[in-house]
């Protein structure tokens, strides 16, 4: 995917969210660190471009909820911030790549500590398959069939120099 593919995909997702929530009423977009955060911001902008709605955006660092902490070094935790009460709202979790589902599982656990949303939906830019948990996305930018040995990297202008989605063999330089 290149930059315009990404833009089109996000626009389509923004429309789907708006349709299914009757004008994005009561929706909170929650980006999962790192690249879910700029994607959530872009979805808000996209929704705002065709709807009289300014959807609140929150951010979530799921570092403290991972089930694989022992295998990962302590890194600095990013900001978790939810600007509105999520009780009885529709939370749309936003992430770049859906793979095993473990990140989403951790994000659901984290959300549960902040309240009881009316519904939680999942929007991802890329679904690459190979789920290890019973989790499926509600909004998908692109289904990208991959082999387990491959790696998918999403680059966004906000966090990286260039923009696009690439598939690599593991160990290959990006």
């Amino acid at each position: 995917m290149d930059a315009s593919d990404i833009r089109r995909a996000l626009h389509r997702i923004a429309h789907e969210i708006t349709e299914q929530t009757e004008g994005a009423d009561g929706v909170v977009l929650v980006g999962i660190h790192t690249r879910g955060v700029p994607l959530a911001n872009r979805l808000r902008d996209a929704i705002g471009s065709f709807e009289e709605a300014w959807v609140p955006v929150g951010t979530l660092d799921i570092g403290l909820y991972r089930d694989d902490l022992a295998d990962r070094p302590v890194t600095n935790l990013a900001k978790t911030s939810l600007p509105v009460d999520i009780n009885d709202r529709t939370v749309v979790l936003v992430d770049d790549v859906l793979y095993t589902g473990r990140t989403v599982r951790a994000a659901l656990d984290a959300l549960a500590d902040f309240g009881r949303p009316a519904a939680v939906r999942l929007a991802v830019l890329v679904d690459r398959g190979h789920r290890q948990l019973p989790i499926r996305p509600d909004y998908v930018g692109k289904n990208l069939p991959t082999a387990a040995g491959e790696r998918v990297s999403v680059h966004l202008e906000d966090t990286d120099a260039q923009e696009g989605v690439w598939i690599h063999q593991r160990g290959e330089d990006e």
């Binding site: 403290l64 978790t80 984290a110 902040f114």
Partner: protein, 304 residues
């Protein structure tokens, strides 16, 4: 890896802990102030000195990270039957904790516990040696108030000679860039200050106007003080943070105290209740700072 003292940790280490503590402050403000980061881990609290507030703070920190907690205090235990510290901690280790939090009246005891057990150990205060989590919560409190410690002037006032809080705080504050002045009568200043990166003063009045933080230590009033200064009234008149001295402080400056306070001795009653007295912020930050230390030691594998 253990957290036995501030010494041996550089500025980067301390800042990682403070950054984590900032995030944990946010966690503690959530509707459900608990994260599963240390689920399945067990923290043993081994407190040879009774200290309800420090133990509760550690316990709150461990539980907010979803760790399980074992509490050990020597009263009524095998210690009263003469069991040695070594046998006690090896016995506790056999029950499978992942980390020990140790408070002991003897300097260096946590260091011995770490050597005997091979477990990560957090020093929760040892004799007059170190109390490093106190230093982290104090640093956190100052950083949250002023944004940073660099070039702040911090005065530590009171019984510095016998204070583990002073030793840890001097190390932490100076590592983080602050200038520290120790203020006390000669008998309570370090007996030999060559290794202390500080300046010394025997007059609170001379320095009070220059300080950003006035950090008061508890005077061991129950010991009477008779052997280290002539009388409590004399101490108060020279080193107490009275209303007059509080008024002489820089208007932005704050007052800190590790607790428990002796109102009317090292701190005037109304000063203790002023909004510029951060005593309760320190207590609140203590939970986040201890969460940060526990997570730093147990939340993942690090080389070294």
């Amino acid at each position: 890896m253990s957290f036995l003292g501030i010494e041996g940790h550089d500025r980067a280490d301390l800042e990682v802990i403070l950054d984590l503590a900032d995030e944990f402050t946010e966690v503690l403000n959530r509707p459900i102030p608990r994260v599963p980061a240390l689920q399945g881990k067990t923290v043993a609290h081994v407190f040879y000195e009774s200290s309800t507030r420090t133990r509760l703070s550690f316990e709150r920190a461990a539980k907010a990270l979803s760790a399980d907690v074992m509490n050990f205090a020597p009263g009524g235990s095998s210690v009263s039957k003469g069991e040695s510290l070594k046998d006690t901690v090896l016995t506790l280790k056999a029950m499978g904790p992942d980390l020990m939090v140790v408070r002991h009246g003897s300097a260096g005891a946590p260091t011995r516990v770490a050597a005997w057990t091979g477990l990560p150990v957090v020093n929760a205060g040892d004799g007059a040696h170190q109390h490093p989590t106190q230093a982290m919560l104090d640093s956190l409190t100052i950083r949250r108030r002023f944004g940073k410690l660099d070039n702040l002037r911090i005065g530590i006032v009171g019984d510095i000679r016998h204070s583990r809080v002073a030793r840890s705080n001097v190390a932490a504050f100076t590592t983080l860039g602050a200038d520290v002045v120790l203020v006390a009568p000669r008998t309570l200043l370090p007996v030999d200050s060559r290794e202390w990166p500080v300046t010394l003063s025997e007059s609170l009045d001379e320095v009070i106007g220059d300080l950003d933080v006035v950090y008061l230590l508890r005077i061991q009033a129950e010991r009477g003080g008779a052997s280290v200064f002539p009388s409590l009234p004399e101490y108060v008149s020279r080193f107490g943070l009275t209303n007059r001295r509080f008024a002489a402080m820089n208007p932005e400056a704050v007052v800190m105290h590790p607790g428990p306070m002796n109102r009317g001795i090292e701190i005037a009653d109304s000063v203790a209740d002023d909004e510029r007295a951060l005593v309760l912020d320190q207590v609140a930050n203590g939970v986040a700072a201890r969460m940060a230390v526990l997570f730093w030691l147990l939340g993942g594998e690090r080389s070294g």
